[in-house]
Assembly symmetry: C2
Homo-oligomer: 451 residues x 2
């Protein structure tokens, strides 16, 4: 995805909003190199991801392997997510970091996917994770949804729901239905994942069929269970209570979810923005506790726009320390594309707020001095450097999405004023040069507040 | 270069400052993919750079080339600068862009350099360019130094000088010394470039020696000429006037430099921050007019921290349109490393401004609600989620560079207040919960202004 400047400005504003909110919640910035040692990247990746890795080789190394006829895997590869680099980073800097370590990372990742609409080989991920040493309280599992709520509220992309589930709860429930084996649970969950696409009849037949051989009433219980969604905070607590005492895993999962729900509320997230969804499993091996997905209420077909969960041990491949964590990730490039397709990205105003026009070469130094004052006053200002017709300069500002056009003619210069045309409000006024920057800043601030 | 969070915060602040100032001057954001077609990247690169390119191959493409035994250059490569991607971008989107096209781009680039201290294979470049269609007024050559002045002033890295020269002036001068051939001029300039390292005697001997065979008085004139530096605006104009009428190229170069100097001044750049330096040549083929280098006055050994110039045609390889431009680039990763080495990067305060402590699990929801208010009030706030000794929580804040520690004990909760410890001012005060966020914001704002 490569954007024209107007879209890039909108994209950059989303990046800024996400970062600002991540920082509001006390997450610290980390950036890692795009290239990692292949052996580091490939340790944790499964078959699918491994096939999508891009390898990197300098000219020298290409020539060397050509000469030697060697056919090994190249030494370096491009990251395909931000989790493996985080694991390597935390393991490498373990003794220099304070735990719980709260980091955000917003960088591009690379996957050699088949090219198709809305799938990108290079895309931004915006991740937050909290990593504990030896242990990490489940309370942190409530902070991530609160941060995500803040992000999506400010991004202003319509109503959304952060959906929660818990892998222990899932495990306990399935054990109670006679699906005790972890591998079998995984397979059942994979079938359940097809509910949306294939419908309940297909899933029921498969699970009672020869491959799984589950009892019809167990399958009915499973399908009822995975259909559970809560409609309010109280409803969520009631639905957890309705699960009864059950086995230990179920009890643990229920207790964790209950604590997370209470703290999400304490953090001020409105109850319409979070809900239980017992069908969410996320990755079959990696997550061990809370799991998250986030959907746009009016665009369920987009699927989850922000997902994650709790994991047992971040970096077992790279360190002996046990590093449990919880994380959540926004795939921003794909989200931006989807929002554009759904008409939810407004064509942004330009990052340029003021255009200083020019009608006479002799006045250029005066125009530049005024532009300098505007910039010092905090306004993003472009100056027309080559004289042209005023109409053409106005048309340019209009097309570029620049709101204020400043005219400094013979008259204005003599009087020490500027004429300002506000293209948004289709308004025109004259103001003294000394008041110019302050006046425009106030206008911008008022529009921001009124919006 | 991989940074720990404290350094990453300092680095991020530099990136933000650069971007803010680029936007102040009306430059629009562009980001391009890290991978370009190899044939695009290698079209423009010279021998040295070409040897440093990283190629990228997905697993599938690696396997394919292994099976076929093909040994061609891989299809994709990583960008080694931001100029070639800009050329490709402008050529590709030519009909969708408004000219003069003012873009900034701040992304990482990749070079397979020999690893050594202060040289990085992956580093940030922060570029601004103005691209014209068919023609571009020399006036734009004054805007770039003004933007760079704004950047480095705000970065607060000590006194610096933006040094200016002009390739036409150089060409005219050398022609007048009997060095008319462009290739020979390039070779002479390359020898002149060695002045700092090898000294004037070495250069004089080389230029009068068998290889160049220049007359001794011509060489003396050349060495006098390249030693010219201006000490003020008036001195710069005087030194240009002292060059006399000369030939056409010299006259053009002088006229351009004079106009650029006048407009730089009109843009409010103090005269101590720019100077003529007739020894600057920058790249022997690429630049055709104004050229820039920027040095730190107290650290000349660091060399140029920001360079660029005017070029005749950006994208002749990709389009028939003539696209003259002027650009300048900050190599931020190397600069950051150099500033750290020189002790000029202050250990930044954390991006976290407030730590809300916790002494009793029962008070956690209260603490979270207060944190929520602080975040809404625009303060970056971390909450201690697991109870521990208060002393330990203070120590953590101190080490992490968090300025304000908020204590919410039994007393404070009953009274509806918070106790705040300001670790910077070693001060402590109690404030009502309703006034907490505003009070801390005012304190931060005061420190910012006083700084």
């Amino acid at each position: 995805m490569e954007l024209l400047p107007r879209d890039q400005i909108a994209f950059q504003r989303m990046l800024d909003t996400i970062r600002r909110n991540f920082e509001r919640f006390g997450f610290l910035p980390v950036e890692t190199p795009v290239m990692e040692l292949s052996e580091v990247l490939l340790t944790k990746s499964g078959g699918e991801t491994e096939r999508q890795v891009y390898f990197a080789q300098s000219t020298g190394s290409l020539e060397k392997s050509a000469q030697s006829g060697e056919r090994g895997v190249p030494e370096m590869a491009l990251r395909f997510d931000l989790t493996v680099p985080l694991a390597r980073y935390v393991a490498e800097h373990e003794h220099e970091l304070a735990f719980p370590f709260r980091r955000y990372q917003m960088q591009r990742v690379y996957r050699g996917e088949r090219q198709q609409r809305g799938r990108f080989r290079e895309f931004y991920q915006c991740d937050i994770d909290v990593i504990g040493k030896d242990s990490l309280s489940v309370r942190y599992d409530a902070e991530l949804p609160a941060a995500i709520y803040a992000v999506f509220s400010e991004l202003d992309i319509g109503p959304f729901t952060i959906q929660l589930n818990n892998r222990k709860l899932l495990r306990g429930f399935f054990e109670a239905q006679g699906v005790a084996d972890g591998g079998l649970q995984a397979l059942v969950l994979r079938e359940v994942d097809k509910l949306d696409k294939r419908g309940p009849d297909y899933v029921r037949e498969t699970l009672t069929g020869p491959e799984f051989g589950l009892a019809a009433d167990a399958v009915a219980t499973i399908l009822d269970f995975v259909a559970v969604r809560s409609s309010s905070h109280a409803d969520a607590l009631a639905k957890l209570a309705a699960l009864g005492e059950g086995n230990e895993a179920l009890r643990e999962g229920v207790a964790e979810l209950r604590e997370v729900l209470e703290l999400i509320r304490a953090l001020g997230v409105p109850e319409k923005n979070y809900a239980l969804n017992f069908s969410i499993a996320r990755g079959l091996d990696y997550y061990t506790g809370t799991v998250y997905e986030t959907t746009l209420d009016d665009f369920p077909q987009i699927g989850s726009i922000c997902s994650g969960g709790r994991y047992e041990d971040l970096a077992s491949h790279y360190t002996k320390s046990k590093l449990p964590g919880v994380g959540i990730s926004i795939g921003l490039t794909r989200l931006f594309w989807q929002l554009q397709e759904a008409g939810l990205v407004s064509t942004a105003d330009s990052s340029v707020q003021v255009l200083v026009t020019q009608m006479d070469d002799a006045h250029l130094p005066h125009c530049l001095a005024v532009a300098n004052e505007l910039r010092h006053g905090g306004l993003n200002t472009e100056v027309v450097m080559e004289t042209s017709k005023l109409g053409k300069q106005f048309k340019y500002a209009d097309r570029a999405g620049i709101r204020f056009v400043v005219v400094l003619g013979e008259d204005e210069i003599a009087k020490g004023t500027a004429t300002v045309k506000d293209l948004r409000r289709e308004d025109q006024f004259e103001v003294s040069r000394a008041e110019l920057a302050r006046t425009l800043r106030v206008e911008l601030e008022q529009s921001r507040v009124m919006k």
